[in-house]
Amino acid sequence: MLFLFITSGYKANAQNHLISGRVIDSLTLQGVSGATIKIKNTTKGTVANPDGSFKIEVSAGAVLEISAVNYHPLQVKANLSAPMQILMGSINKTLADVVVVGYGTAKRSDVTGSVSSVPKARLSEIPAANVLQAMEGTVAGVNITSGTNAPGTSPSIVVRGINTITGSSDPLIVIDGTPFQSLSLNDINTNDIASIDILKDVSATAIYGTRGANGVLLITTKHGKAGKALISFSSYAGPEYFAHKVHPMGPAEYVQKYADYKLEAGVNNSFPVPNQYEQENYATGKTTDWLKEISQQGFIQDHNLSISGGGKDVKYFVSGDFFREKGLLKGFQNKRGSIRSNIDATLASFLTVGANLYMTLNNSDGGRVNLQQAMQMSPYGRFKDPDGNYTIFPMSGDLAFQSPMLGLTTTRNDRRENFITNVYAEVKPLEGLKYRVNASYNYLPTLFQYYQGRLAGDITNGSASVSNSERNNWVVENILTYEKNWNKHHIDFTGLYSAQQNREYSSNINASGFINDALQFNALQGASTFSASSSYIKTTMVSQMARINYSYDSRYLITATARRDGYSAFGGNTNKYGTFPSVAVAWNMSNESFMKKAEFVESLKLRGSYGLSGNQSAVIPNSTITTFSTTSIPSNGKPTTGIVADILGNGDLKWESTYGANVGVDFSLFKGRVSGTIEGYKTTTKNLVLYRQLPAATGYLNIVSNVGKVGNKGIEVTLRTQNIVSGDFRWETNFNFAANNNKILDLYGDKKDDLGNRLFIGKPIYVIYDYKQVGVWKVGEDPSKQDPGAIPGDLKFADLDHNGSITSDGKDQTVLGQSTPKWTGGVTSAWHYKNFHLSVFVQTVQGVTKYNQLTNFVDYGGRQNVVSGLGYWTPTNQSDVRPSINYVNYLTYGYPQKASFTRIKDATFSYTMPNSLADKLKLSALTLYITGRNLATFTNWFGWDPEANYAATGDSSGNYPLVRTFIIGANITLK
């Protein structure tokens, strides 16, 4: 209204010229909403529209005074002949940053909730195959763990502590406004990413309703900008090595182990090594280094080409990428190719349309060696048979241990494709009013083919397995936004209505009995035995959301949101809808007049929020309905189908609800030399979905129910400092720290622990609960009273309940630690001298205890090799820590160990070519760099890596060493 009044008031004066223009941020090139345009030495003025545009009548020679919160004020001469473009420099880059907040963007200074951004340097300067790898350790409160380094795998991510037991703790990932549906974050080409913002507090995540409780990762891909075509090529490559190697026992150690075993077990034979094949090799002195045999030189490379640009009306960004990693262990590899095309077109002044198309092909083919089996193999085991094939059982006569090499004789295809199409239309019918419709379709096929033949020791004359799955998802979102500024008031509204459907069909065929191994899974009709399975699941979702932001003078800000989600998988007895309100307030204290005197304070903002968000992932589709499943028994030589009761459905099942409060302060001091954020939060998750165990007399194992309650509280600190800024030399550090306290408040409504599932009231969700080892029974000690089954050389445990004996009823076990970190931190230190840059990133993860499977000394009665360097108790050399080699672990003690570590995660040295030199080479920009990753780890953990999920028994895909990589790369932009 005021705006209309001001402009109409000047229309009468015929001497004046109506001029137009746009105020834009000099860095982001985004419009500066609410900038004030005043004609110097008059009282006349106007306020810019949300996109920064303005119109004003001026007389010839007028000078405009432009001001806006957080921008350096400036004066420019009015241009009467052409539209003006006014660039404003922001006072503090961080505060002026635009962050994505879900269904829209906001200036950092206007954000009321807890939203963190991944430092852009991590995205653009550090080569990373996976987006989470780029993020690891850099954002306070976002904990990323690489359980395995196997090519093609993705790390896990937890935002602000775990608040679910049954459900997924993965955050929701939204790419360019559309929920990302994927089987792996590996599908994303990190080169395409422009920015990553993370919604952490409940007020910020509540706008994603039943999917917000684990936090939300908002990824924005690169889009074209108007101008000449920008052609960029970036490429990196480098070798991979074991970051740390754990060795199995060598020949001499192995022989000694068997001798010690025999002595203790009372086995009386004259063999130096247990089995026939070993004895043969022992006689000829032939040994095999199995770890070496399964290893190869790893190599990683990535090549990316992007072209972007556009005119006034059409802008484009097109990129292609090829990534390849050859693993450290034979047969492990990952290839990925991706193509992206982002196109935005302005069809009319009020209408913009666009399409983001993305395709990625992922390939992890390859029959693989087995690290765990290599660790078990005797160094005297037979490597190859006389016919040149790998020996199936290298330690034959013992037929329990297969060769780790056999996987190389198998054929294994593991492929995944992801096609994402996302189109939108945006209409601006009225000033400040915008309607946008997003439609997204996503197609995700996977293929897994496997054949193991006679050379792999298959006893069924070759067996083949083929699995196909296909996911088809669509989402339609209608978003209405309205924005208005008047005087010092700003208000904007966002409304959403969306619908979504996911379908997943999968099928699997197993076949065996082939006349030979020639045709493999390519002609299943040649098999003699078949079995097959398939499944189909469909889920649907409907959502409505409204959000209002109001601010006064950029000093007082308030955001209120509400979302309502309906999800098909919620119980049939519920109305299937959940509502999630939240409110957040912020006070930009530095904009108050009384703060003007505190000149060292550049900006200071206090924030507070409270809200409710949900987690629907714990509600597995079809779990609310009582069902029967099929099974089969053989009858007269054929399978016959039977039906058995499957699950007892719970028609009342609904989402998990997280109530959360957050307080924070954002600050920038001493002209931006010190800036950062300090936040504290407390959340309580109710209606936790748990599989409540039922008495077996019900005929069911459990029923899925909303019963539990979990609390998380924590503190997060992010600090950016410019330590030295002097001429050509700069030194900056970026420091983050996060501590989280996770606590189970209730489980099944009765405040009782769940011993069976290791869940304890008042303790974190993931705890290490075990006996407390106090030593090893010595020769001469009498264990019979305290531990009737024990003999000297067995582990000695504390009698925690002081009843005189070690019992397995849980009373002699206790919580020894948590397997999620108590606190994490990261420091990035960057030194710049002229065109040379060095950046070193150190991360630390503290307060973690994990079961150390590798030290669970199991040699199955002298039958297999074990890890070297651990040692074991013998009557003549009585260890206080390690049990005897013949120890039978009746109590299934898990050997917990502290798994805290500090790691020099990466270091990058780069050279940016000065413009003068680049010009001579006809380049726009050139950066050359060398990066080392996983350079050094400081830990007390014994094993491959404290982060790794290594399994000592049973094959696990997590059994892969931590990888140290050295990479050389170049980023080139053509002129």
Partner: protein
């Protein structure tokens, strides 16, 4: 005006979107599993009976439990008069509390399995029985009663396991539609009455053995045989004898007295022929078989040797039952010995027959022949200098390797020397046992002459000396059960049923400690007591 047209377009688009979402957009449909209403026709009910057979088979097919332990079968044999562990290296943790009884607590893993397994059978039987009553079924009364009889056979069987092992237990006769945590133990009399009712309905309504579409499905004789055992346990000896007679006189079964089947041209005897894969089923010539659980090579029939995993027993594996391994020996660990067909494949000496059993047979008793009970081993590696010679002398490991063993579970697949699967049918009921049940019923009624006559029928077949009525005692009957049924019967349950466990192990069992009368009942699983939070499930005395 143009502005308003644009605005209107937007509003129309939004309202169209809102309307297009029908109310049933959020309705959930289950596509890959059955809901109860989808099970209405005769094929579905037949499949329900197959499902019960499947659930039953989990006991026999158990390969390892959630801790990776494989000694479930030892639980039912060790710590009794028939079997013990010789070498500690081969001892499975599951069997320890069942031989060192002082270690048997309510947290024992084996009782968890048994308890759950019984109630799974009960729930699945209840589902079949209750679904038969749903309105709108177009099935004949005859069909309904036949299926109901077969379902109730399994329910009666499950309650009989519970009653024998635990005493009185909670009675559930209909499927649940909501969680229940207030179970209480019914009296043993009530449980016994339910068992008798269920099995009586089964023997009256289930089909005869020659009228089965699935050979291992319940039939009248199975119900009668089980009922005979139930009556013996509950002291109704005349009724027990009548049920045994019903089986014997049914005309469907006769003892195997002559050589037959796949090895008929190889050395052997009639008793051994019954236990050779390929001979074990009725349609393969085993006239004595009443109930045979079939197995097939999983290489040719999916799930042929068990389902591998079952969602009701997380962590357990059910492919490759352990019979051969627990009863067989590690002879192949002796230099000069290799795994082979003639020695019964790969055993691992988890348990051995007691000296009592080894000395229990008369010399000429067929059941003691080298084809049924191997006492001597001969070097079988042709490349060894001692090939064909008797394995003997000092230095031979007689604890683990060269151990006398029953041949009933011999099995060998040249494609699978390790023996991942055990491809062998399991004879669960046969006529041989019927005579023993009859003898016991006769003895209990004071008819020792009749008992001797019943037993002599078996001894006649075995070419063992006849016995007279003066020799018949309960101990003799239990001895004869060993001679006939060792490694087939669940010895622990026989001794618990007859309440003779404590007496029988004296001077017979080996390496047993801590056995007292309290172990005539097993403890109610502690987890069941804990989970049943709204009522008290009382524990058996002494636990």
């Amino acid at each position: 005006m143009k502005k308003y047209i644009k605005l209107l377009t937007v509003l129309l688009a939004i309202s169209a979107m809102l309307n297009s979402c029908k109310k049933d957009f959020l309705k959930e449909t289950v596509y890959s599993k059955f809901t109860p209403t989808a099970l209405k026709d005769s094929l579905a009910f037949e499949a329900g009976i197959v499902g019960l057979q499947y659930t039953y088979s989990l006991w026999n097919n158990q390969n390892e439990n959630q801790n990776g332990n494989q000694g479930f079968l030892c639980v039912w044999q060790m710590g009794t008069d028939v079997a013990y562990n010789k070498a500690i290296d081969d001892l499975d943790p599951m069997s320890i509390p069942y031989t060192n009884y002082e270690k048997l607590t309510s947290r024992d893993v084996s009782i968890d399995f048994v308890w759950r397994w019984c109630y799974l059978l009960i729930n699945n039987a209840n589902n079949v029985v209750t679904n038969l009553d749903q309105p709108g079924l177009t099935l004949s009364t005859g069909f309904k009663n036949r299926v109901k009889g077969q379902a109730l056979f399994y329910r009666g069987l499950a309650y009989n396991y519970l009653a024998t092992l635990f005493g009185g237990v909670p009675i559930i006769t209909a499927p649940l539609t909501a969680p229940k945590t207030d179970f209480v133990r019914a009296s043993l009399d009530d449980v016994n009455k339910l068992i008798v009712d269920d099995l009586t309905f089964a023997k009256e309504n289930a089909p005869t053995v020659d009228n089965l579409s699935v050979p291992s499905a319940p039939h009248k004789a199975m119900a009668s045989q089980l009922l005979a055992e139930v009556y013996l346990r509950t002291g109704k000896n005349a009724e027990a004898e009548a049920e045994a007679n019903a089986v014997i006189n049914s005309g469907f079964f006769s003892l195997v007295k002559n050589r037959y089947g796949v090895h008929v041209n190889q050395p052997g005897d009639a008793f051994a022929d019954m236990f050779i894969f390929g001979n074990q089923r009725r349609n393969q010539g085993n006239t004595e078989a009443i109930w045979v659980q079939e197995t097939e090579n999983p290489a040719s029939v999916p799930n042929g040797a068990g389902p591998d995993i079952d969602s009701k027993f997380p962590g357990y594996h059910f492919t490759g039952s352990q019979h051969r391994r627990v009863w067989g020996s590690r002879y192949y660990n002796t230099p000069g010995m290799i795994i082979g067909d003639s020695l019964g494949g790969r055993g691992i000496s988890r348990m051995a027959l007691t000296y009592f059993v080894l000395n229990l047979y008369d010399k000429n008793d067929m059941r003691n022949s080298q084809y049924n009970l191997r006492r001597k081993y001969y070097y079988n590696d042709p490349s060894n200098a001692l090939y064909g010679k008797l394995v003997t002398g000092p230095g031979i490991d007689t604890n683990r390797n060269i151990v006398p063993k029953t041949n009933k579970w011999d099995q060998f697949d040249p494609n699978d020397e390790f023996g991942s699967s055990m491809i062998k049918d399991m004879i669960i009921m046969r006529l041989g046992e019927t005579y023993l049940l009859k003898a016991e019923a006769q003895f209990k009624q004071g008819n020792t002459a009749g008992a001797a006559a019943s037993i002599n029928i078996l001894r006649d077949r075995a070419h063992a000396p006849q016995v007279n009525s003066g020799q018949i005692t309960m101990d003799f009957i239990l001895d004869e059960r060993i001679r006939e049924l060792v490694a087939e019967e669940n010895r622990r349950m026989t001794l618990m049923r007859t309440k003779t466990l404590v007496d029988r192990v004296k001077n017979r069992g080996q390496k047993i400690t801590g056995l007292t009368d309290k172990y005539l009942l097993l403890p109610i699983p502690q987890s069941e007591i804990d989970l049943n939070k709204d009522a008290q499930l009382t524990q058996n005395p002494g636990y």
